[in-house]
Structures are given as structure tokens and as C-alpha cells.
């Protein structure tokens, strides 16, 4: 496939994300507003604030205007990079969101690496070694698949918090302040986030390797006496990688979703916890911005997966 066709494909895929993002923004906008309860009421709680005062707050925030008017105002701002101001902090949402996005990006990336390394290693081992190793890996995988990541996270918090307090489980440190401490503080959260995803990758790696192993070209390679190592690297891994990349790419959405719970449990100031807080307080501008950013990331990741797919598998072409 030529570089030109590839470039066109990428551009087309990117162009296609725009209508999807528009759709996502409409849905995010309408869903939150369709829910009963708004920021003014959520913030007031059970205090005996007067209905007039609540209406004044709504007027000041502009959430008393017709929905289409609010949406158009938001969209015209978003198109020029203005995502509005948070109802809670009164600061521009973009300024609140950026540092949190970077934290989540780092956490997700670390969890992704852990999941990929752990998943492909155990998957490969389980396919190649068979017997008791296979049995052990698959047993552990079933267990991890059955236990949600927030339970794993809570258990890790209890274990390290109570019996190894020196680990300092809640000591999140920003990267710019101390890179090493930052990596250590995110290791356990990334592990609990990555474990569940590693199961999917592990199972897919195992299936792919087993399938590739029974292909004729592998038999031929074996028959002509190639060393096991060479067969593994040049025939098995490369060919088994294709489905694994697809699965791994699609798991990004799972990682982003999981970050909501993991960040809340480990008190990491990322986008997940921000979303949780924003939904609870009905901070519409913040919710819209987070959904938009998360959707963009997932869509871009899917495009990246397609590109990687074409690079790894010579059979795939986008002509």
C-alpha cells in the first residue's frame, strides 16, 4: 500500500470523527439536562434556601434558557476552544480539565503498559507451555475477570494502607514535583486498573497464538528445522499480534471508564474523579468537556489502531 493511500485513509477517518463528536456532544448535553435536579438544587441540599434565590442562581448560570439556545452558545464557544466556566470553581473548564487530563492520561498509559505486558506474557506462556501453566493462568484470569477492578483496588488499599503504611498509598505526587515519587504513587492504582484489562489481552493472545500455531506455514517452518526462538518471534508473535492490537486498542475505553472508580478510591486528582464530582454536583460545563475529551481520545485511538493494524498485517489494505 502506498503512503498516499494511507494518508488519505487517515484523513478520511479523522474527518469521520467530527460528526461522531458532534453527536456525542448533543447526547452528553441532553442526557445531563434530561436528568431531574440541577446545580443550584444539588448545591443547596436540604438547606431552606428560597425558591427565588435558586432561580437567581439558575439565571446567573444561564441554565434557565431554552435547551437549544444553551447548546448553541456552548457549541459556538467549544468550536473556538472555549469550553465555558465551571459552576463549582467558577474557573474556565479547560484550565481545570487540562491538569486532570494529563494525570488520567499518565495513569491510563501506565495501566495500558502493565495490561499489555502482563496480558501478552501470560497469554503467550499459557499457549506455549500448556499443562499446569495454562491451567494456572486461565484460572487466575477467570478469577480476575470475575472480580471488578474497584474490588481489587479496595483490597490493595486495605492491604498496603494497614500492613505496609510506609508505601504511602495516598501520597499522589505531581510529575513536575518529583518524577520518581509520581511513578511510584501511580504504580498500585495502574496495577489495579490494568489487571482486569490484562485478562482480555491474555485470553486473546492465547487464542491467537494457538490459532497461528496450527497454521500450515508454522508447520512448514517447524518441518524445515527452524529454531523454536525464530519461529516464535518471526512467525507466531507477529501474526498473533494483529487481533491483540485491536483488542488492546478497544480496551482503552474500558481503562478510561475504570479510571473513574480507581481515581476515587486512590484519591488521584484525575479526569475520572473530576467526572464523578461533576455529575454529582451537576456541573454541566465540566461534564460536557470531559465527555468530549474522552470521546475524542477513544476515537483517535481507534484510528491509531486501524493504522497499526495495516502496518502489522500485510493482508490489510485500505485501498
Amino acid at each position: 500500500m502506498g503512503a498516499g493511500t494511507m494518508g488519505r485513509m487517515v484523513l478520511l477517518r479523522l474527518a469521520l470523527t467530527i460528526p461522531i463528536l458532534l453527536g456525542v456532544s448533543v447526547v452528553a448535553f441532553m442526557l445531563m439536562r434530561a436528568l431531574p435536579g440541577d446545580f443550584a438544587q444539588a448545591a443547596a441540599g436540604t438547606t431552606s434556601i428560597s425558591a427565588e434565590a435558586l432561580d437567581t442562581i439558575r439565571r446567573q448560570l444561564g441554565i434557565d434558557r431554552p435547551l437549544w439556545e444553551q447548546y448553541l452558545a456552548w457549541l459556538s464557544g467549544a468550536l473556538v476552544g472555549d469550553l465555558g466556566r465551571s459552576f463549582v470553581t467558577k474557573r474556565p473548564v479547560a484550565a481545570d480539565l487540562l491538569p486532570r487530563f494529563l494525570v488520567t492520561a499518565q495513569l491510563t498509559a501506565m495501566a495500558g503498559v502493565i495490561a499489555f505486558v502482563l496480558g501478552s506474557a501470560t497469554g503467550l506462556a499459557s499457549a506455549r507451555l500448556r499443562g499446569s501453566a495454562d491451567w494456572l493462568v486461565r484460572g487466575l484470569n477467570s478469577l480476575l475477570l470475575a472480580v471488578p477492578n474497584f474490588v481489587v483496588a479496595t483490597l490493595i488499599v486495605l492491604l498496603f494502607g494497614l500492613y505496609f503504611p510506609s508505601v504511602g498509598i495516598f501520597n499522589y505526587t505531581p510529575f513536575m514535583q518529583d518524577p520518581l515519587a509520581n511513578l511510584t504513587s501511580l504504580l498500585l492504582p495502574a496495577l489495579s486498573l490494568g489487571l482486569t484489562v490484562s485478562v482480555t489481552i491474555s485470553e486473546n493472545t492465547r487464542a491467537a497464538v494457538l490459532e497461528v500455531s496450527s497454521q500450515d506455514y508454522v508447520m512448514v517452518a517447524r518441518a524445515k528445522g527452524l529454531p523454536r526462538r525464530a519461529i516464535l518471534l518471526h512467525y507466531l508473535v507477529r501474526n498473533a499480534l494483529t487481533p491483540v492490537i485491536t483488542v488492546a486498542g478497544l480496551q482503552l475505553a474500558a481503562l478510561l471508564g475504570g479510571s473513574i472508580l480507581i481515581e476515587t478510591i486512590f484519591t488521584i486528582p484525575g479526569m475520572g474523579q473530576y467526572l464523578f464530582d461533576s455529575v454529582t454536583t451537576r456541573d454541566y460545563p465540566a461534564i460536557q468537556a470531559i465527555v468530549l475529551v474522552a470521546a475524542t481520545v477513544v476515537l483517535l485511538m481507534n484510528v491509531a489502531v486501524d493504522i497499526a493494524y495495516a502496518r502489522v498485517d500485510a493482508r490489510v489494505s485500505y485501498e
Binding site: 436540604t46 431552606s48 428560597s50 463549582v88 503504611p165 473530576y274
Partner: protein
């Protein structure tokens, strides 16, 4: 001393003296803080200076301007940043704070003398103009202040001289001083300073340092704080834990020195893990009511409501849900003037499923009744389990309900507008005065309207109680009001319990928890590690 008595005497002292010696400038004795807090003295040793107190908080603040914030999660911070003319002491009595005292020339006029030499965190001196500006801001509709309703009886605030300010009320009010003493409702803000919601400037013992949402809220000692020697701590850090398991682990691993819990059983469990963990004696400040939509059939019929009350076994709910850490409730919790002590007889409180059935039959439901959805706060496991027990108890009397746990924000919207089908529960937290609680049942009040209240006699009782300045008579009036509410079964209160159970490590000294769960005593706290 029981809490109810404590508060009662406090109000009594402040109010009766004002009436007896109307024209004499009465200076409430300062230094009352220590004298009135035996628990502080009992701890003996002289306070050590310096150090940081780390508090685990379960929610981020929503705005830090005391005039505009209505969020309980903000009170943790306003109570260290700001102070008001009066305050509650450790025994929940009212004492002067920014004021040195007040005189009351007549029943509707209060003249406050301010402390001299008080400085705001920005270095500007506090004067009477700031007090006036604060109340002007509260009354300004553009501020949308939740305090406007509470202070709606203030006719005018006048600056007499830089250190004297006069409040004129439209009618005698027993609630006025309680609201003034409550943080953040009565907090004084500096005039002409904008954006207090994000850059707070107060007169409190601690100064705002930094805030990273979901992470940490940092305050440092105010070097110009007006009470000599205080605060002892060099800094206070709040760290945020939204997850209950993380919060308990943080306390046990000493990542935090102090926190509070929503569930009494969790608190009891945590405190048992170490003899060095101190748990505050619970003060009942919160009630768990079942609100009823009485605008329509079948709950507009008092017999159906009485049947619900008779079929409920409040004691069983209390034992099962709270493990006994609380009391049976009526409308006003025990920590208030006239609050219900949980043992006195109330109409339709004796569990009697047969009696309930008979009432239902009389109301035209001989085969029982299906009340449909009973809406509860999903985020509060205590509320949900109490609702489940009530569901079983009611079933015995032939009353069917389907429990529907809901997210808090839409539930509040439904509750305020009265748009729930039949039954809804949302707990009421501590409020500075019983009037704030019972006023919800006035037929003219938005809440009252949403429920379908229409009881002229009760209206008169509630409005009348506001103007009773004699504390004993006032307490009696509130007992009567509660009795009427129970008799007509307008609200089914089940149990009362502390809003939060506070807990801290024993090296934290000099701290006193308040019934209001406002942490103003961090100013006298010190660390002895």
C-alpha cells in the same frame, strides 16, 4: 448535661439577660471559652505550638463565600477562615466572638459593640461598615444567598460608629442570635473584596493558602488572629477521600490525624482497632423523616397517615440500622430548644399493626393499600436499610410500598417541588434553630405547599413560637408543635442520630466536637506527638 439543656440554657442566658437589663451595655465575659470548656482544661498540659493537623474530608467545598454557599461540604473551610459576631461554645451556648457584647434597648433592637484591632486576612481592619456590607450582600437578591430567608426579619442594619452596629428587626425573634452565632450563616466578610468564593478573606484563625480540588486544601495560622496565643497549629491540611474504605484506611494508617464517618457502625469498628483512637460522643442532630405527599389521595386522609405511623416500629429501626447509636425521633432533634428526647410519649408512636389495619379499614381500605414508590437517597446506605425495614413493618399492616433508591440531585428536586408519588425520605441535618425545621410545615412555605400542608392552627403555633423569647416557654411551645405534627402524622420521623461521627488520634489535643459538626475548635487544637 444533655445537649438539649445545654443549648437551651445558652439561649436562655443570652436572651433573658438582654430583656432584663434592656438599656445597660452588657459585656458578656470574654475568656469564657476556657471557663466554659471543662474538657479543654481537663486535658491538662500546656498546649504545644506548631505542627500540622491533617483532616480527612469526604467532600470538596462548593464555594468559600459564606454569603453565597449553601453546601455543607464548604462549612469545614468557612469555619476556620471566617468568624461572626457571635459563636457557639463547646456546650452549644452562644458567646460573643467578633462582638465584645451587645445591648438590647427593646425587643426588636440589638446593638453590637465590635472588638477593636481585628484585622481581615488582607490586613484591613474590621469595622461596623463591614458588618453592614455583609448583611446588605445577604439581602441583595443578586447574591442569591441561602441566608436571606433566615435573616428576612432584619429591617435595617445601621452603623452607629466604627465599632458599633445596630440591627432593627421587624418582630421579636428568638432565632436571630442562633443564626448570627452559626458559621457560615453569621460570618462577617470584608467589604469591597470580590471573588471570596475562590479567594476567601476572613477574620478566622486560619488563612487560605492553597486548594487543589480532590487533593488538598491547605490553611496556615493567622498571625493576627485576635485571641491571644491562638491558633496553636502552624497549618491545617484537608485531604479528600470520596471512598469510605479509603477514608478509614487513611485514618488507621495515620495518613490523616482526624476525620468523621457517616455510619455509626463504621465509626465504632474503627475506634475498636486502636485504644489511641478517640471517638466523639454522638450528639443527635439529624433526623430521618418519611415525607408524605398529602396533596392527593390516599395520604390526604389523616387515618392513612396515622396507620403508617402506628405500623412502624421506630425502636426496631433504630436498633437494626444504627445499632442503637441514636434515639427515636420526632420533628426536632434533641440537641435543639424543645428537642424530643426519644423517650417521651408521642401520639401514634406505639407500634400497633392491628390498630393500623383498623384505621385503614375505616378509611376505606379494608384489604390493605398499595402506596407505590417510596423514594430514598441511594447514596446513603443507612436510609436505604431503614426504608427496607419500614417496608416489612408496613407490610404486616397491609401497606405495600416499593422502595426506589435515587440519586441525590433529582431526589432533592422532587422533594422541593413535591413531585413524588407518595413517600420520600431525605434526612434533615443540624440547623441552628428549631424554627428552621418546623417552618417547612407552614402552609405558606414552599416546602409546606409542596407537601400539601394546610393547618391554620399549626401555622399559628409555629409563627407564635418564633417570638417567644423566654427559653422555657419556647421549649414548651416546640414540644406542643411536635405533638401536633405527630398527632396529625404530617411527617413520620423515625430516628435521630449524629450527622457525623468524629474520630481522631489521641495525640490531637484540645479539640472539641460540636453538635453542629462545625470544626471551629481547631483553633484550640494542638499536636502532641
Amino acid at each position: 448535661m444533655r445537649d438539649g439543656e445545654g443549648m437551651l440554657e445558652g439561649l436562655g442566658e443570652a436572651l433573658s439577660r438582654g430583656i432584663e437589663r434592656r438599656t445597660a451595655l452588657r459585656l458578656l465575659v470574654m475568656g469564657g471559652t476556657l471557663a466554659a470548656s471543662p474538657r479543654l482544661l481537663a486535658q491538662g498540659a500546656a498546649p504545644k505550638r506548631g505542627g500540622r493537623l491533617t483532616i480527612g474530608a469526604d467532600a470538596d467545598p462548593i464555594g468559600l463565600d459564606p454569603v453565597t454557599t449553601a453546601a455543607f461540604s464548604s462549612y469545614d473551610f468557612t469555619s476556620l477562615l471566617y468568624t461572626g459576631l457571635l459563636r457557639w461554645n463547646a456546650e452549644m451556648k452562644i458567646e460573643p466572638d467578633l462582638a465584645v457584647g451587645f445591648e438590647q434597648p427593646n425587643e426588636t433592637t440589638y446593638v453590637f459593640k465590635l472588638r477593636s484591632g481585628v484585622k481581615f486576612h488582607n490586613g484591613k481592619a474590621l469595622d461596623a461598615e463591614d458588618v453592614k456590607a455583609t448583611f446588605d450582600r445577604i439581602k441583595d437578591p443578586a447574591s442569591a444567598s441561602p441566608n436571606a430567608t433566615l435573616f428576612s426579619n432584619i429591617k435595617s442594619v445601621t452603623v452607629v460608629d466604627p465599632l458599633t452596629v445596630r440591627f432593627e428587626l421587624s418582630a421579636p425573634s428568638a432565632t436571630f442570635l442562633s443564626f448570627l452565632a452559626t458559621n457560615p450563616i453569621g460570618c462577617i466578610t470584608p467589604r469591597g473584596v470580590g471573588d471570596l468564593a475562590t479567594k476567601p478573606v476572613g477574620t478566622g484563625p486560619f488563612v487560605f493558602e492553597s486548594y487543589e480540588p480532590n487533593q488538598q486544601f491547605l490553611l496556615k495560622a493567622n498571625p493576627n488572629y485576635y485571641e491571644s496565643g491562638q491558633p496553636y497549629l502552624e497549618s491545617v491540611a484537608f485531604r479528600f477521600f470520596k471512598d469510605q474504605a479509603s477514608l478509614t484506611t487513611a485514618l488507621r494508617s495515620k495518613a490523616i490525624d482526624m476525620t468523621w464517618f457517616k455510619d455509626p457502625r463504621v465509626s465504632a469498628q474503627i475506634v475498636r482497632t486502636s485504644p489511641d483512637l478517640v471517638s466523639a460522643p454522638g450528639k443527635t442532630t439529624r433526623t430521618f423523616p418519611v415525607w408524605m405527599n398529602m396533596k392527593d389521595k390516599p395520604l390526604n386522609d389523616v387515618r392513612v397517615r396515622r396507620a403508617l405511623s402506628l405500623a412502624a416500629n421506630r425502636q426496631a429501626c433504630l436498633q437494626t440500622v444504627l445499632g442503637g447509636s441514636g434515639k427515636v425521633a420526632a420533628m426536632i432533634p434533641e440537641s435543639h430548644v424543645g428537642g424530643y428526647d426519644g423517650v417521651g410519649d408521642m401520639p401514634y408512636y406505639k407500634t400497633d399493626p392491628a390498630g393500623a389495619k383498623a384505621l385503614l379499614a375505616e378509611a376505606g381500605y379494608p384489604n390493605g393499600i398499595d402506596l407505590g414508590e417510596y423514594i430514598v437517597v441511594a447514596a446513603n446506605p443507612l436510609d436505604v436499610s431503614c426504608a427496607q425495614i419500614l417496608q416489612q413493618q408496613w407490610a404486616e399492616a397491609g401497606i405495600k410500598v416499593a422502595i426506589k433508591p435515587m440519586e441525590t440531585a433529582p431526589l432533592l428536586a422532587m422533594w422541593v417541588k413535591g413531585e413524588y408519588p407518595t413517600l420520600l425520605s431525605v434526612a434533615l441535618s443540624w440547623s441552628p434553630d428549631p424554627d428552621a425545621i418546623v417552618s417547612r410545615l407552614l402552609s405558606s412555605n414552599a416546602y409546606g405547599k409542596s407537601m400539601g400542608m394546610n393547618d391554620a392552627e399549626l401555622d399559628a403555633m409555629i409563627v407564635g413560637a418564633r417570638a417567644i423569647l423566654d427559653p422555657a416557654k419556647r421549649a414548651a411551645a416546640y414540644q406542643q408543635i411536635q405533638r401536633r405534627i405527630c398527632d396529625q402524622a404530617y411527617v413520620l420521623d423515625i430516628y435521630q442520630y449524629p450527622l457525623r461521627w468524629e474520630a481522631w488520634w489521641s495525640y490531637v489535643k484540645g479539640y472539641v466536637p460540636l453538635a453542629s459538626n462545625i470544626r471551629s475548635f481547631v483553633r484550640t487544637t494542638w499536636i502532641d506527638k
